[in-house]
């Protein structure tokens, strides 16, 4: 809606001008907060689900009404479709996803031996496509990749996030944690300052969540469609006027790994609905 983007640009203009009252207020809030270090697991963790209205929660809970299910259905069709020069479908190797993919999304990002680093679920799907199906990788944020990721993610719904940090994943986890704690961008904000220190408070009318990625890919009402965690992260970085890494960049996967670890034990809600 043009009114929305116009208002956003105006809001942003206020933030950028040194005489803007909003900018001063934001600065005051965040300057007063001592920089948090360490584990960044907020006491009393709760999912973004809990902060939504009754009606939006109902939208997520009802598979018949959840718009993310449209992507899950697409994913199911893709799962069964033969593709690539190997002429294989996902089901040819993995059978019924309900069984074979159960718990998988809850463990990602996970270490991949070929890449010698953690990969996220989207990358893992693409590795299967290139290596096993001999098909070109799907573009990040393409409808097909979102659909497959949502379909695989759906099979872990209700299961707890289970991220292990071991000798192999430790350095990447640390990089992700450092990124979460680092002030960056023209607004010089770190993730901690909003999502740990000020969660539950409102930023220009919107509730600041703890930012747990336990529902991705999810249907975001703001996007009017399903998107990945990396899309959300890039938007956050845009919001604080920081440089955005490209989709699939190592920095983003490291941050994903940290965020999923931070959400360990919380239930997967894919496909979630969020404002």
């Amino acid at each position: 809606m043009n009114s929305r983007s116009a208002a956003l640009r105006t809001c942003f203009g206020l933030l950028r001008s040194s005489s803007g009252a909003l900018f001063a207020a934001v600065l005051a809030v965040f300057s007063a907060t001592a920089q948090s270090a360490g584990t960044s697991v907020p006491a009393g963790r709760h999912s973004g689900y809990d902060s939504m209205s009754r009606q939006t929660r109902a939208m997520q809970d009802d598979d018949a009404a959840n718009p993310g299910m449209l992507w899950v259905l697409d994913g199911e069709a893709l799962w069964n479709r033969k593709t690539g020069s190997a002429g294989r479908s996902c089901s040819d190797c993995h059978g019924d996803a309900r069984a074979s993919m159960k718990g998988v999304a809850a463990r990602y990002p996970a270490f991949n031996a070929t890449r010698a680093r953690p990969v996220n679920l989207e990358q893992r799907i693409n590795l299967c496509r290139t290596d096993q199906q001999k098909a070109p990788p799907l573009a990040f944020e393409s409808r097909e990749l979102l659909a497959l990721t949502a379909y695989v993610g759906r099979q872990s719904r209700g299961l707890p996030v289970e991220i292990t940090v071991d000798a192999r994943t430790q350095p990447f986890f640390e990089a992700g944690r450092e990124a979460f704690n680092r002030r960056q961008g023209q607004l010089n904000l770190s993730c901690v300052q909003c999502h740990d220190d000020n969660e539950g408070k409102r930023l220009a009318g919107n509730l600041i969540p703890q930012a747990h990625p336990n529902g991705y890919p999810l249907y975001r009402l703001e996007w009017q469609g399903v998107g990945s965690l990396q899309r959300r992260l890039r938007n956050c970085l845009t919001g604080i006027r920081a440089q955005t890494p490209v989709f699939g960049a190592d920095e983003l996967v490291d941050l994903e790994l940290f965020l999923m670890w931070r959400a360990r034990g919380m239930s997967i809600e894919t496909p979630a609905v969020r404002p």
């Binding site: 043009n2 018949a64 718009p67 449209l70 009017q224 469609g225």
Partner: protein, 106 residues
Amino acid sequence: MARALITIPASARRGEIIEIKALVAHEMETGFRRTQYGVVIPRNIITQFVCTYNGVEIFSADFHPAISANPYVAFSTIATESGTIACSWAGDNGYSHTESVAISVG
């Protein structure tokens, strides 16, 4: 990928009031949004929804741009007999889609 989802109870007793939920993938572009260059994005919405029960229309709706993307509508009907519940959507640019589900009434 045209994707729609119609949800009805697995089975129903004759005379029972059942709920029908219909969800369809569509961007419902309002015609009021502009690109970052200020160019209006043309309207592209679903305008009509019709539901039939064994060929008889039981519910219909007119949608305007104020209906959200991936339009959803839930309504009810009295289960009269087994057969087919069919939902059809039609809209701008010749858009048309139909999806059917079987209904079992005992």
